[in-house]
Symmetry: C2
Subunit: 394 residues, 2 copies
């Protein structure tokens, strides 16, 4: 298939087999919904002339459900193949991108066996790396929905309580072990009722698409606070997401079986469909590639995460965001999704632009990108999630 449309050369990661949705404002205009095509944004409120796209978030469209998502994708594909109408197209460099989704609840999982094992070794060196529950359920926790921010938002270094193992009492101050977590996030379009649940094979009826997530983490704050109720201040200061939501339909060619689950999960977590995803992430630290985390190695699938999250009757809402947790491959030096793994808790610095580095310094910039196989034989792109560290507020 030849890709057409302004800015979309052949083999762009943003061709007609991708069409990720976002929210943008053109110069002087209000936020509205668009799709990315090559290096342009197509204004859907113009292309499709529907008020659901003249909104500052994707939520109203996402709530319309899977049949509607399918129909709109077909319409967009047809209209763009003929060349988009005058006035509907904006070069990416001339628009402002916004948080694409009004986030309802945010849940972060812990679905990489490599990451969970590495963190277990680092946080609890005297115990088994994986907790007894880890292979029976996708462990997760609620994060702070109000501090989910769009890529490009500066990250102010958080302050908080930190206590090193050899210190008698905690001290207060800026985090000294500020880290990233490279993740994939999934956005719920159609929720579920309180007291109901979403079956593991109903994933695609509920989930609209995927985003890149950087779950910034203050490891010193986290290590001191997290027992027994889990991470709180060490994570809640900011979570960045990419501006483009790749629709689930664009990820069909990326679907793969999970690496394998042993023991076999309980029946409510056993699906008949493959929802492993062959997405490859790239982590750049100040412009230098430091890792390539492979999503295909994740132990738990996003369909299992959603089934688990609602099996107790918890309702889901349009705009719920759930993320995979840090994506780390077997080679923690080349595939680790967090600096704490790449540098083994800061004990093994890595070279970044000629300097030996462990955790984030003020002024550092981290950019995560990802690609996956597309329907047209090439690779589709997720765009990027990027952020720069600003000094702590006094």
């Amino acid at each position: 298939m030849e890709l057409v449309g302004p800015g979309a050369g052949p083999m762009t990661p943003f061709g007609l087999d991708n069409l990720p949705y976002g929210v943008f404002s053109p110069a002087g205009g209000a936020p509205r919904v668009g799709v990315r095509l090559g290096d342009d944004v197509v204004d859907l409120s113009v292309l499709l002339d529907d008020p659901v796209f003249a909104a500052p978030s994707l939520n109203a469209f996402m709530a319309q459900g899977r049949d509607r998502w399918t129909r709109v994708r077909e319409q967009i594909t047809d209209l763009l193949a003929g060349g988009p109408p005058e006035g509907a197209v904006h070069p990416l460099g001339e628009v402002r991108l916004h948080l694409p989704v009004e986030v309802a609840d945010y849940v972060d999982f812990y679905a990489s066996e490599h990451h969970a094992s590495n963190l277990g070794r680092l946080f609890r060196p005297d115990a088994a790396p994986l907790m007894p529950n880890w292979k029976h359920l996708p462990v997760g926790y609620h994060g702070r929905a109000g501090t989910v921010v769009v890529s490009g938002t500066d990250i102010v270094r958080p302050c908080g309580q930190r206590k090193a193992p050899d210190e008698a009492a905690p001290t207060y101050g800026p985090s000294r072990r500020l880290d990233i977590e490279a993740e994939l996030g999934f956005v719920v379009g159609v929720g579920s009722a309180l007291g109901g649940r979403i079956g593991v094979d109903d994933f695609a009826d509920h989930v609209f698409g995927a985003v890149l997530v950087n779950d910034w983490s203050a490891r010193d704050v986290q290590a001191w606070e997290y027992v027994p109720l889990g991470p709180h201040l060490g994570k809640s200061f900011a979570t960045s997401v990419s501006p483009w939501v790749v629709p689930l339909a664009a990820l069909e060619a990326a679907r793969v079986p999970l690496p394998g689950q042993d023991p076999e999960p309980l029946p409510y977590l056993r699906g008949s469909e493959d929802w492993g995803l062959d997405v490859e992430l790239v982590v750049e630290w100040n412009g230098e590639e430091v890792s390539r985390p492979p999503y295909r190695d994740m132990y738990w699938s996003p369909a299992q995460m959603l089934a688990h999250m609602t099996v107790n009757g918890a309702s889901a809402r349009t705009g719920d965001l759930f993320a995979s947790g840090t994506i780390s491959g077997a080679d923690r030096r080349r595939q680790g999704g967090a600096f704490i793994e790449l540098t083994w808790g800061g004990r093994e610095p890595i070279p970044v632009k000629g300097e030996e580095r462990t955790f984030l310094e003020d002024g550092d910039e981290v950019t995560i990108t990802a690609t996956a196989p597309g329907a047209d034989g090439g690779r589709i792109g997720f765009g990027e999630v990027t952020g720069t560290i600003r000094p702590a507020t006094p």
Copy 2:
């Protein structure tokens, strides 16, 4: 001061020194904001003729800030002292009460030393009851905002994974240890910016008022899942709140010093104002009083909770709800805020309507009420948070 107004007898817990806000709909009418006076609801969209009260939540009014809250309370007091106008008053029995707040983020703390010690002994019998961090910071975690429901909503028994210590593998099914947690919740009216923070003495500029909270808990699910990232499915199925938000201004006479903090907290947690609260809760199980948890015994104040929650630069939003965690007094048999404490993990059943009981059975009803000293020498009421257990969904 003599209390006047329809339904407000001289010592009602809902006199002019209380005036809690809620959202109600009269027969055939849309939801709107009202205040409770005695056994009536006064429609503020009529009394004050302001569109901010013709809304289905308190959020827009709460966002207007403390000066406005003060002015409106004065206006209401003046207008009601003269007898509310015809058409603004509805008997409580003739209206439907709604969730008063559109909940943004929900954070639950763990601020009772007695509760945290009891749970530590029960969940981790071989370790020290309190974790090393507990007296240095108010431990808390994010809960599920989307499953905060108003009093009276039925609670469907959650299903999930449970594993008793003597079982080899987890099983799936309805919770067998369904419990309550009697708490006080605080509602943020005025938020704060990302990268900023709310000082411990700025509490009353940001917090609009307080509600009763029942943080329903499936102890068997929680015990299996909660390491290392904290409670998730064991709590996320439902959290009930009372329909009336008692404004902070009505709690002036209830303010007391904290019982005492040792070690002295870090400076960001040291306030010059007393935000201990002399609120007494009553827990009724199927109509029988089983406990009287004293809020005045809490170790951490709500002002400290809010300061801690934002010290890392996390923004707060209008509608954020943060709760105290279970309120338990020193006498766990008479003042425990959870059945797991009253029955010591189910090992010491208690009599309820002539039966020996441990955890919740289908059909059980739990009602939590509370009162506090009011400005007029009597006691003001929080109303109630109640819920009935329905059987698990197959």
